[in-house]
Symmetry: C2
Subunit: 209 residues, 2 copies
DNA sequence: CGGCTACTATGACAGCGGTCATAGCAGCGA
DNA sequence: TCGCTGCTATGACCGCTGTCATAGTAGCCG
């Protein structure tokens, strides 16, 4: 999740995602975003002429792409890919963060949903697109592992649902219990959905950026 | 979820929960809560001398009790209680609402988590208590159905995680797909955890208010 | 140099939010 | 009637936020 040193615009989008996932959309100010990104305040209205809504939407889009791309990396890290192994990696990203950096952060997509789904329809659409992209990546991975097509999308949705909910509970309890529980209880169900042998070799798949 | 006509204090707590679940905590104003509850604005500082934080905490507590008590009603509504049947009822509460009233509302506990978990620790504790109460009610119900003790709490956590996450996705997609998917995919896993015959008769159990 | 474009720098503004201060009122016991 | 208590009624304050207006700078082309 390193933000690297891209242009100021990209840094602001990245910083917006970071702040939103900690404080929520409403409590994240534009001046705060600029300061966090070490970007000049004047650049806000230059790069995001449509204001906060545009910035939030781009932050959500960034998070969706990030989550989707991350799936391919998880697959590459697994010796032999299995659905439960993928889900365990998805969960582990969060347990690692919580154990090393505390329970301050959540999912920016979830935050945008809670704060804007009713009010700002463009943001709701951005959230929908983010979930779609993420789900598509996971479903593609499942299909590559031999999960039948008609089950891969539902199971991907279930994985993401459980993960998002477990993140909420983990933050509330300041404990990774809900996350590890989800991984442990859901794993067998996911592996049981594999009917054909996995296609292809080690890496790659239908997931790309 | 009928609010009945209790005292003004209770109405304000109820209205706070309603507004929070729609707009989020940050976007919900105190004047707005009073107006929604048709309660005098002056009563705010009288009943909630600790300000917004107290009101939010009580709204979260109310939601936790509501969700917990609801479990017993779901059980009573089932001809013969099964874990999958209980989960289906929990999901159905949301699909019913979304199909009849639109996708404006979410879970107030989730909203409080996203908006306050990092900033207001008392609210975080209220959220934790709400999840604990809800989980306890579901776990108790599972145990009564014959799920072994060491599995009932993890499975209850998984059910609530999946439900919360599916609620987020449903709002984003303006579709109940994620909710029905969770119920369908998780049902068999839950029923498979039953090892002993259910104890007791039709209603009742270890869940109370 | 002029002129143009990309970006930055401030200051102001209008609105809203939670909170406080103060005062009013109704009821009731003595 | 007095005084006390529970509740209501307003108005003001201060801080913050998103946004706009305006002006400035840097670089590049001709």
């Amino acid at each position: 999740m390193a933000g690297a040193e891209r242009g100021p615009r990209e840094r602001m989008v990245f910083s917006a995602a970071q702040l939103i996932r900690r404080e929520g959309v409403g409590a994240t100010g534009m001046r705060e975003v600029a300061a966090h990104a070490r970007a000049p305040r004047g650049s806000l209205q230059h790069y995001f002429p449509d204001g906060k809504e545009q910035l939030v939407n781009e932050a959500v889009g960034w998070a969706g792409r990030y989550a989707g791309n991350r799936v391919a990396r998880f697959l590459a890290a697994l010796p032999e890919p299995t659905p439960s192994g993928l889900f365990a990696e998805m969960v582990r990203q969060w347990t690692d963060e919580y154990e090393s950096e505390g329970f301050d952060g959540g999912c920016p997509v979830a935050a945008a949903t809670v704060d804007c789904a009713r009010t700002a329809d463009s943001t709701r659409q951005a959230v929908e697109a983010a979930f779609t992209r993420w789900t598509g990546a996971v479903a593609g991975a499942l299909a590559d592992m031999g999960v039948p097509e008609e089950r891969s999308r539902p199971l991907a949705t279930l994985m993401i649902s459980s993960l998002e909910g477990a993140i909420l509970i983990a933050r509330a309890e300041r404990s990774v219990r809900a996350l590890t529980t989800a991984a442990r209880e859901l794993g067998p169900l996911l592996d049981a959905a594999v009917t054909r042998p996995a296609k292809g070799g080690g890496s790659g798949g239908s997931v790309g950026s």
